[in-house]
C-alpha cells in the first residue's frame, strides 16, 4: 500500500515493469521489492529445501527470500535480490525455484516430509544399492536443489573492470561515512565514498530523525552535495565493497547499467580494485530476526526494513501491523507507522521490563509462538506476561537486535569479539591493517555517536587536527536484552534461505557436530546466498545454548569474500572470447591469410598451418607438397616467433658459458652454435642457436614456447650470480622479422635478393647483409636438414620481405611452407621441440650428454648427475619407423613384442610422428627405456585411443641425411 506524501521516490515518473507475467506500475526510485509491496504483492519466492512460500524479509542486499530472475536482451540473471534491483521501464522479472508457479509449487510437498529431511539426513541414506546414487537419488536431489536458472547460452553483455586509488576509502554513506568523508575531504585528502545503494545517505534516508535542525535525509543530501562539489572526492553509488585483500586493496562491485534497459556498450557491472591508504568501514548494522514456530511467512519482516519501506519508499507493507522485538529502537518503527496512519495491532516486547509509551496495545515478556497464513500472514499466536492470545495481523515486524556489519574486517581471518552489552560481535582493531570500523559497524548506534565516530576516526587514521563541527543529532541509548528463539514445538527458522531451523542446529549438537564449523557444514546454516547475514548470530546462540557454552566460546564461522555475491562476468570482465590472452600477429599474417592458410595458435602467436593449393582437399596433401618443395627446390617460412635475445658486453661469453651446457666463449665471430640450456635441477629447459655477431656481441635464439621463461632465467642468473659482469641483454624478438629460406635453391633465391651475392658462407655462419640498402642479418642454420638460411630484417619491412621471398621462391618452383611441413621436416631430421623437451627430459635422455662441457660449470650441471637422471632405466630418445602403412600417433605407448600391454610392461611413449613423404613412411620420435641400445629392434606401439597396434623399428632419430651433407652443401 503506497502512502501519500512519504518517501524519496519520484512520483512524477511512473515506471512499468512485469513480475511473473503481470504488469505493475511503480515510481522511479523504487526497488522491485518496494514496488511489489506497494502493489500488494507479498509472495515473492520459495525457500531452498522445503519450498516454503516466502515474502521479502529485508530491504537490502542481505535479502534471503525475495530472489528472482531478471530477464534482459535474451539473457536472464538468476538470484537477483528484489530488494536491490531498481525498477525501470521494461524490467521483466519472475520468481524462481518453483514449478509450475509461485503460488502452486509441486515441491512444496517437501514441507510435509520435513521430519525425514532434518539436518544431514542425506549422509545417512541413499546408499543402497550403490548404482542408484548417480542414476536415481542424485538427479532427484539436484533437480530439487538449486535456486534460479542459468541459461545455457553465452553471456555476451559488456562488463567493465577498473583500478582506483585514494588516501581514504569510506565504505558506507550513512551518518558515520558522510562525516568521515567530509572530515577527510575538507583536509584535502583524496577520498572515495562507496555506497551500495543508488542513493547515498544510508539509514538517514529511512530514518525520520533530525540532524542539525533539519530532517536527516535533507542533511544527508546537503552533505553529499558538498562532497560532490569537491574535486578530491569521488562518490561511488551502487558500489558494494566486497573484499578486503592485502595491503589496502579492496574489491568492489559497481552496478553500472542494471537500472536501465540494455544499451550498447554500457557495461552491466564494473569490478573495481581500489587501493586505499586508509579505509573506514561505515557499513552500519544489520537487524536480526527472532526464531519461533513458522516465523518465515510472507508478511513477516524486519522492523528496520519496514521503516525503510515506509520512509524511503512511502510504502506500508501491511494494514494491521504487529511488532515482536527485544529492544527499544524497533519500537520507533511502530510509532512511525502509527503516525503515518497505519494500524498497529500489538507491540510484543520480549523483555520482562520495558517501557509502555505507545498508543497501542503493548505486551511485555511476550513471545510469538506460532503464525498462520500460507501465502501471506493472517494471524499470530502470542503468549505474554498476562496470558496468551491470537492476533490478526498481515505484517509482523521482527527485531532481535542489530549486528554490526563487520564482514570485511574478517576477510583476513581475523575474529570479532563479543560485546555482551549490545549482544553482538564487534570488530577488533587491526583485523585488517589500515581498516577501521566506525559507527554502527563498530557497535555504536545513536546518530550522534555515529557522526562523532565518523569524524574522529577519519581524523585519527589520517592524522588530522582541523575538524568540522558536529551537527546536533539524536543520542538515544540502545537498550537490548538478548532473545534468540521462542522455545516450543514445530520448526523455527534461523536460516531462511537454506531452511535451517532451531531443531537442525540442536540435532547437529546432539550428534556431536559441536564446533561451529561442524554445525555450519552439517546443517548448511550460513551457506545460502545471504551467507548467514540474517542467521549466523542466532544460530550460534542456539548452538551455544545446546552445548552449554557461551557465545564467545562457541565463536563464529569465518566471513570470506565476497561480501555480496559477484557475477563471474564482472570479475572476469574482458576475458571472454579472445580477450583471455593477447593475440600476437606476425608481419606475414595478412600475406598468409591472403593465400588461404589456416592460422593456428602457437603460444600467443598465430602461425600458418599450411598453404593450400587448388586441387588439394586435405591438409596432408598440402603438407606433403610443401615438404617435398623444401627438399627439392626452396621453401620460405616465417620464424619470427622464436625468441631473440641480444647479449652484449665484455663478459657476454662468460655468461653464455654459465647458462649453456656448451662453451660459447670459443665460438668465432661470424659463427653460430647450437646451445642446450638446463634448469638448475638438471633437466632440459630449452634449446636454440646462438650467433656471435661481434667480439662482445651475441644473439641468442630460444624456442617460441620458452622465450619468456628463458628471459626470466637469464635475468635471474645475471642479477643473482653475476651482477658485476660487464653484460647487458635485451629481447629483440619483436625488432626483427625473420624468415627461413630452405632447400637446394635457397642460395639462388637469396642471391637474387641481396645487394651483394653471398660469398663463402658455410653452415653455421652469420653475417650482416643488405637488401635494397636495408640492413639485414643472415644466419646459415637449418631446422629442416636442407641447406638453410634465416634472414632477418627490421620488423617494419617484414611483410614486404615475406611477400617478396615467396614470389621469388615460386619462380624457382618453391613457395611458402607452414607449421605442418616444418614439423615433418624437423622430425625427418630428428630435431627436437618442446614435444620432446617436455620438462621431464635430461640431456642424457636426448643423447646430448656430451654437450655438457666437462671443463666448466653451468646451470644444472651438478643436478644432472643425480643417479635417477641417468642410466638404462631412463627412457632415451629414439627414432621409430613404422613397419606397415598404418598411421601411428603421438601419445602411443611402447611395448616389447609379446609382452602383455599394461603399465608394468610399459617401455616408453611416442612424442612426435609424421608421415614422411621423403621416406614414404610413417616416422616417429619416441622415448624408450635403454633406447639407444635397442636400435634395430622391433617395438610394439599401442594406442588405445586411436585403436592402433603396430610394430615399428627402433632407429637413430636422424632419418634424413644422417651425415649432414645437405646442410653443408
Amino acid at each position: 500500500m503506497r502512502l501519500a506524501d512519504k518517501g524519496l521516490i519520484d512520483r512524477s515518473k511512473l515506471v512499468t515493469f512485469t513480475f511473473d507475467g503481470r504488469s505493475y506500475v511503480g515510481f522511479a526510485g523504487d526497488s522491485l521489492a518496494s514496488a511489489l509491496l506497494a502493489n500488494g504483492v507479498k509472495l515473492m519466492g520459495r525457500s531452498f529445501k522445503y519450498h516454503r512460500p516466502r515474502g521479502v524479509l529485508t530491504a537490502g542486499s542481505e535479502e534471503p527470500n525475495a530472489l528472482v530472475e531478471v530477464l534482459d536482451d535474451g539473457q536472464q540473471t538468476p538470484n537477483t535480490r528484489a530488494t536491490v534491483q531498481e525498477i525501470h521501464d521494461g524490467l521483466v522479472a519472475r520468481s524462481q525455484n518453483r514449478w509450475p508457479n509461485l503460488r502452486w509449487d509441486m515441491l512444496s510437498i517437501n514441507d510435509l516430509a520435513a521430519p525425514f529431511l532434518s539436518a544431514g539426513f542425506y549422509y545417512k541414506t541413499f546408499m543402497w544399492p550403490r548404482a542408484f546414487w548417480e542414476g536415481i537419488y542424485e538427479p532427484l536431489i539436484r533437480r530439487a536443489a538449486g535456486l534460479g536458472k542459468l541459461l545455457p547460452k553465452h553471456d555476451t553483455a559488456d562488463y567493465d573492470r577498473a583500478f582506483a586509488f585514494c588516501d581514504l576509502l569510506v565504505i558506507g554513506s550513512g551518518p558515520t561515512g558522510l562525516m568521515a568523508a567530509l572530515t577527510a575531504a575538507k583536509a584535502g585528502r583524496d577520498v572515495i565514498l562507496a555506497e551500495e545503494d543508488h542513493m547515498m545517505g544510508g539509514r538517514l534516508l529511512s530514518d525520520d530523525g533530525q540532524i542539525g535542525g533539519m530532517a536527516s535525509a535533507d542533511w544527508a543530501n546537503a552533505t553529499i552535495a558538498t562532497l560532490r562539489a569537491m574535486p578530491n572526492v569521488r562518490l561511488m553509488p551502487r558500489t558494494t565493497v566486497v573484499g578486503a585483500y592485502d595491503h589496502g586493496t579492496y574489491s568492489a562491485l559497481e552496478r553500472v547499467g542494471l537500472h536501465v534497459a540494455h544499451r550498447p556498450h554500457l557495461p552491466r557491472e564494473c569490478f573495481w580494485r581500489i587501493v586505499a591508504g586508509q579505509t573506514i568501514l561505515a557499513t552500519g548494522a544489520l537487524e536480526r530476526p527472532i526464531a519461533f514456530r513458522n516465523n518465515d511467512r510472507p508478511g513477516i519482516m524486519l522492523a528496520g526494513a519496514v521503516q525503510t519501506y515506509l520512509n524511503r519508499y512511502g510504502v506500508a507493507p501491511g494494514r494491521r501491523v504487529t511488532l515482536f522485538a527485544n529492544n527499544d529502537g524497533a519500537r520507533i518503527v511502530a510509532r512511525q507507522l502509527m503516525a503515518a496512519g497505519v494500524k498497529v495491532a500489538a507491540i510484543l516486547d520480549s523483555r520482562p521490563v520495558a517501557s509502555v509509551i505507545e498508543d497501542c496495545p503493548v505486551y511485555i515478556d511476550a513471545r510469538v509462538t506460532d503464525t498462520k497464513g500460507r501465502h501471506g500472514l493472517t494471524s499470530i499466536s502470542v503468549s505474554h506476561a498476562a496470558g496468551s492470545m491470537e492476533v490478526e495481523t498481515d505484517l509482523l515486524m521482527l527485531s532481535g537486535g542489530w549486528n554490526p556489519l563487520l564482514h570485511l574486517t574478517c576477510h583476513q581471518n581475523g575474529r570479532p569479539v563479543w560485546r555482551e552489552d549490545i549482544a553482538a560481535f564487534v570488530p577488533k582493531p587491526g583485523m585488517i591493517p589500515g581498516l577501521t570500523a566506525a559507527g554502527s559497524a563498530n557497535g555504536v548506534f545513536s546518530t550522534a555517536e555515529c557522526l562523532a565516530q565518523g569524524r574522529d576516526t577519519a581524523a585519527a587514521v589520517l592524522g588530522l587536527a582541523d575538524l568540522p563541527d558536529l551537527p546536533h543529532a539524536e543520542a538515544a541509548p540502545y537498550a537490548i536484552q538478548p532473545f534468540w528463539a521462542v522455545p516450543g514445538e514445530g520448526r523455527a527458522w534461523l536460516d531462511f534461505a537454506n531452511d535451517v531451523t532451531v531443531k537442525d542446529v540442536k540435532l547437529s549438537a546432539q550428534e556431536g557436530y559441536v564446533s561451529v564449523e561442524h554445525m555450519k557444514r552439517y546443517t548448511t546454516q550460513g551457506m545460502a546466498p545471504d551467507q548467514g547475514k540474517n542467521s549466523n548470530v542466532g544460530a550460534l546462540a542456539v548452538l551455544a545454548d545446546a552445548t552449554g557454552r557461551g557465545i564467545p566460546e562457541t565463536g563464529t564461522t569465518t566471513f570470506r569474500p565476497p561480501y555480496v555475491p559477484v557475477s563471474i562476468a564482472a570479475m572476469g570482465a574482458g576475458g571472454r572470447g579472445v580477450g583471455f590472452a593477447p593475440q600476437r600477429f606476425l608481419t606475414s599474417d595478412q600475406a598468409s591469410r591472403d593465400r588461404g592458410a589456416p592460422m593456428i595458435e602457437a603460444g600467443l602467436w598465430y602461425r600458418p598451418s599450411y598453404f593450400p593449393k587448388p586441387g588439394e582437399s586435405t591438409w596432408r596433401e598440402a603438407c606433403d607438397r610443401e615438404v617435398m618443395m623444401v627438399r627439392q627446390t626452396v621453401g620460405v617460412a616465417d620464424v619470427s616467433t622464436l625468441g631473440k635475445i641480444d647479449i652484449q658486453g665484455r663478459d657476454a661469453a662468460r655468461f653464455l658459458d654459465l647458462v649453456y651446457t656448451g662453451t660459447f666463449s670459443t665460438l668465432p665471430v661470424g659463427r653460430v652454435r647450437y646451445g642446450l640450456m638446463l634448469r638448475e635441477d638438471g633437466l632440459v629447459m630449452d634449446d636454440g642457436t646462438t650467433a656471435r655477431l661481434g667480439e662482445n656481441h651475441y644473439l641468442m635464439t630460444t624456442t617460441t614456447a620458452a622465450a619468456g621463461q628463458v628471459m626470466r632465467h637469464l635475468d635471474f642468473v645475471h642479477q643473482a650470480y653475476c651482477a658485476d659482469y660487464d653484460l647487458r641483454f635485451i629481447s629483440v624478438t619483436e625488432s626483427w622479422a625473420q624468415f627461413a629460406v630452405a632447400g637446394p635453391k635457397a642460395r639462388q633465391l637469396l642471391n637474387s635478393l641481396l645487394d651483394q651475392p653471398l660469398g663463402d658462407f658455410p653452415f653455421m655462419s652469420c653475417g650482416e647483409v643488405t637488401i635494397e640498402g636495408v640492413k639485414a642479418r643472415l644466419f646459415r642454420i637449418s631446422f629442416s636438414g636442407e641447406e638453410g638460411y634465416e634472414i632477418a630484417v627490421p620488423t617494419p619491412y617484414g611483410e614486404s620481405l615475406f611477400r617478396d621471398l615467396v614470389a621469388r621462391a615460386e619462380t624457382l618452383g618453391g613457395g611458402p611452407y607452414g607449421m605442418e611441413a616444418l614439423n615433418v621436416l624437423r622430425i625427418e631430421k630428428g630435431l627436437i621441440t618442446h614435444a620432446e623437451i617436455h620438462g621431464r627430459v635430461t640431456a642424457f635422455d636426448i643423447g646430448a650428454q656430451k654437450m655438457i662441457a666437462t671443463k666448466k660449470d653451468c646451470i644444472g650441471k651438478a643436478s644432472s648427475t643425480r643417479p635417477g637422471l641417468t642410466g638404462p632405466e631412463r627412457e632415451q630418445m629414439v627414432g621409430l619407423r613404422a613397419l606397415s602403412d598404418q598411421p601411428i600417433g603421438a601419445g602411443a605407448h611402447l611395448f616389447t613384442p609379446g609382452d602383455k600391454v599394461n603399465r608394468e610392461n610399459g617401455q616408453g611413449y611416442v612424442t612426435s610422428v609424421c608421415y614422411s613423404p621423403t621416406l614414404s613412411s610413417w616416422l616417429g620420435l619416441a622415448f624408450l627405456k635403454d633406447g639407444r641400445a635397442r636400435h634395430g629392434q622391433q617395438i610394439r606401439l599401442v594406442d588405445h585411443m586411436r585403436k592402433t597396434d603396430v610394430l615399428c623399428e627402433v632407429c637413430d632419430p636422424v632419418f634424413h641425411d644422417p651425415e649432414g651433407g645437405k646442410l653443408r652443401a
Partner: protein
C-alpha cells in the same frame, strides 16, 4: 548406530530424538600404540585403515582444531584417477577403487558421484599429451576416452567453440571420475575410526615431538604429553612446522590455493570440466552451486586466503571457456594451504627417525587421494614396508633424482 533409510524414517517419526553422537569426545590417554598428528582427511583415513586393516585400535588422532578443519573441507571435491607417470598412476587408480565402495564401507553417504571429468585440449601438442595420458590410464586398467569436438558439442553445448581465444580441439574424458561431498568424507572416516576404538582428540595441538637417540618416543601437546612408539605426521598445510619439531627440513613449501562457489542454480552442468589453457576447472554441486578453482596464488603463505590476480585469472578463464556462467554470482571464495613438493607428487614414507612417519606434500591433489593415502600410510605404519602402489613416494627422491613430475614443470619449487 547404523545409518539407513529406514532409520531416517523411524527417527523422523519420533522427532529425531534417537540420533547419537557420530564420534566420542575422549580425553587423551597417557600412551598409545600409535599417534597420528592431524585430524584431516588423510589422518582420519589412516586411523580408519590402521584399525580396520591392521587391527591397530589403541591409537589416537590429535587435531589442533576441529576434525576436518584443513583442506578436506576446502577443496573443489574432484575425484579422478587420470595420472600418467608410473608411481602416480597405480596409486590414484587404487584410490578410485576405494572411492567406489566408500559409502558402503563407511555406512556414511559421502555422495561420491561418478559424473565424469573432461580435460579439454587446445592444440595438436596438447592432444598428443592427453592421448599419452589416456593410454597410460588404460594401461593401468582405468577408463579414459578421447572426445572429438562434435562429441563435446553434444554433451557440453554451452562451451564457447567459436569465439574463445584458444579453440577447443577435443577432450580427454574419464567417466569414472567425479566429485564427492568433502566434509562427509572426513566425518565418515572419523565415525568409522571411532567405532573401531580410535580416540579422536580435537582441540589438542601437538607442540613437540619427543625423539631420543634417533627413536621417536611420543609427543607433547596442549593437553599434556602422550607416549607412543609410532608417530605419523599427517598435517598437510603445516607439514613443515610439524617436521621441524622433529628437527627435519623437508621438501615442502606452503602455498595458497583459492576456490570459489556460486549461489545455487538449477542443474546446468553435469560433468567436471577442466580447461587446458588456463587454470580453471568446474563442476556443479548437488546443492546447485558451481564449484570451481584455479592455480595456487604463487607465493609461500600460511594465511589461508588469497589475492585478486588469481581470482581474476580464474574468472577470465571461465568466461573464455563457458561464457554462460557470466551471470552466476560467486558466493564465497576461500584459500587452502597446499603442501607443495618440488615435483608435485606426494610423500608417504618413513623418516630418518625410527618410528616417525610422514604423509605430506599433497600439492593440489590431496582430496582424491584420501582413501589410498590412508590405506598406504596405514600399511607402512603397521608393516614397516611401503605399500606397492605408494613405493615411489619417497622422502629422499629429490636428492636421488627419482622424480615424479606429472606436469613437467620441474623439480624445483619455483617452477610450479
Amino acid at each position: 548406530m547404523r545409518y539407513s533409510g529406514l532409520k531416517v524414517i523411524t527417527e523422523g517419526l519420533f522427532g529425531n530424538k534417537g540420533w547419537t553422537r557420530a564420534w566420542r569426545d575422549p580425553a587423551p590417554k597417557a600412551e598409545y600404540d600409535a599417534i597420528i598428528i592431524g585430524g584431516g582427511g588423510h589422518g582420519l583415513s589412516t586411523a580408519y585403515y590402521l584399525a580396520k586393516n591392521h587391527g591397530m585400535t589403541n591409537i589416537a588422532v590429535l587435531e589442533k582444531g576441529y576434525l576436518g578443519s584443513g583442506n578436506i573441507g576446502r577443496n573443489t571435491t574432484i575425484v579422478r584417477a587420470n595420472y600418467f607417470i608410473p608411481g602416480n598412476s597405480e596409486f590414484y587408480s587404487h584410490s578410485l577403487k576405494l572411492w567406489e565402495g566408500l559409502e558402503l564401507e563407511l555406512n556414511y553417504n559421502v555422495m561420491h558421484s561418478q559424473r565424469g571429468q573432461v580435460v579439454l585440449f587446445h592444440s595438436d601438442g596438447q592432444r598428443d599429451l592427453q592421448i599419452r595420458r589416456a593410454n597410460a590410464i588404460v594401461n593401468q586398467g582405468d577408463d579414459a576416452e578421447i572426445m572429438t569436438v562434435d562429441q563435446l558439442r553434444a554433451e557440453f553445448p554451452y562451451l564457447d567453440y567459436e569465439q574463445t581465444r584458444f579453440p577447443i580441439y577435443g577432450g580427454m574424458m574419464q567417466r569414472r571420475a567425479g566429485t564427492a561431498r568433502h566434509d562427509a568424507v572426513a566425518w565418515g572416516y572419523a565415525r568409522g575410526a571411532d567405532q573401531r576404538g580410535v580416540d579422536l582428540i580435537q582441540n589438542c595441538e601437538v607442540t613437540g615431538i619427543d625423539v631420543e637417540n634417533g627413536v621417536v618416543r611420543g609427543v607433547q601437546t596442549t593437553r599434556g604429553p602422550i607416549r607412543a612408539k609410532k608417530v605419523a605426521m599427517i598435517a598437510a598445510g603445516r607439514s613443515g612446522q610439524v617436521a621441524a619439531m622433529a628437527g627435519m627440513r623437508i621438501p615442502v613449501e606452503s602455498h595458497i590455493m583459492q576456490a570459489f562457489v556460486t549461489e545455487g542454480l538449477k542443474p546446468v552442468m553435469d560433468a567436471v570440466i577442466s580447461y587446458g589453457m588456463g587454470h580453471f576447472y568446474i563442476s556443479q554441486s548437488d546443492k546447485g552451486g558451481l564449484v570451481f578453482g584455479g592455480d595456487i596464488d604463487m607465493y609461500a603463505s600460511y594465511a589461508a586466503r588469497g589475492n585478486l590476480p588469481m581470482v581474476e585469472h580464474v574468472m577470465e578463464a571461465g568466461m573464455t571457456l563457458m561464457p554462460m556462467i557470466g551471470r552466476a554470482k560467486v558466493l564465497r571464495s576461500w584459500g587452502g594451504i597446499m603442501d607443495m613438493t618440488p615435483d608435485g607428487s606426494p610423500i608417504i614414507d618413513k623418516t630418518p627417525i625410527e618410528g616417525l612417519f610422514i604423509d605430506a606434500g599433497w600439492n593440489y591433489g590431496g582430496f582424491k587421494a584420501v582413501p589410498a593415502s590412508g590405506w598406504c600410510m596405514a600399511h607402512l605404519m603397521a608393516t614397516g614396508q611401503s605399500h606397492e602402489v605408494a613405493r615411489r613416494f619417497r622422502l629422499d627422491r629429490f636428492r636421488t633424482g627419482q622424480l615424479l613430475d606429472e606436469e613437467g614443470t620441474g623439480s624445483q619449487h619455483n617452477l610450479h
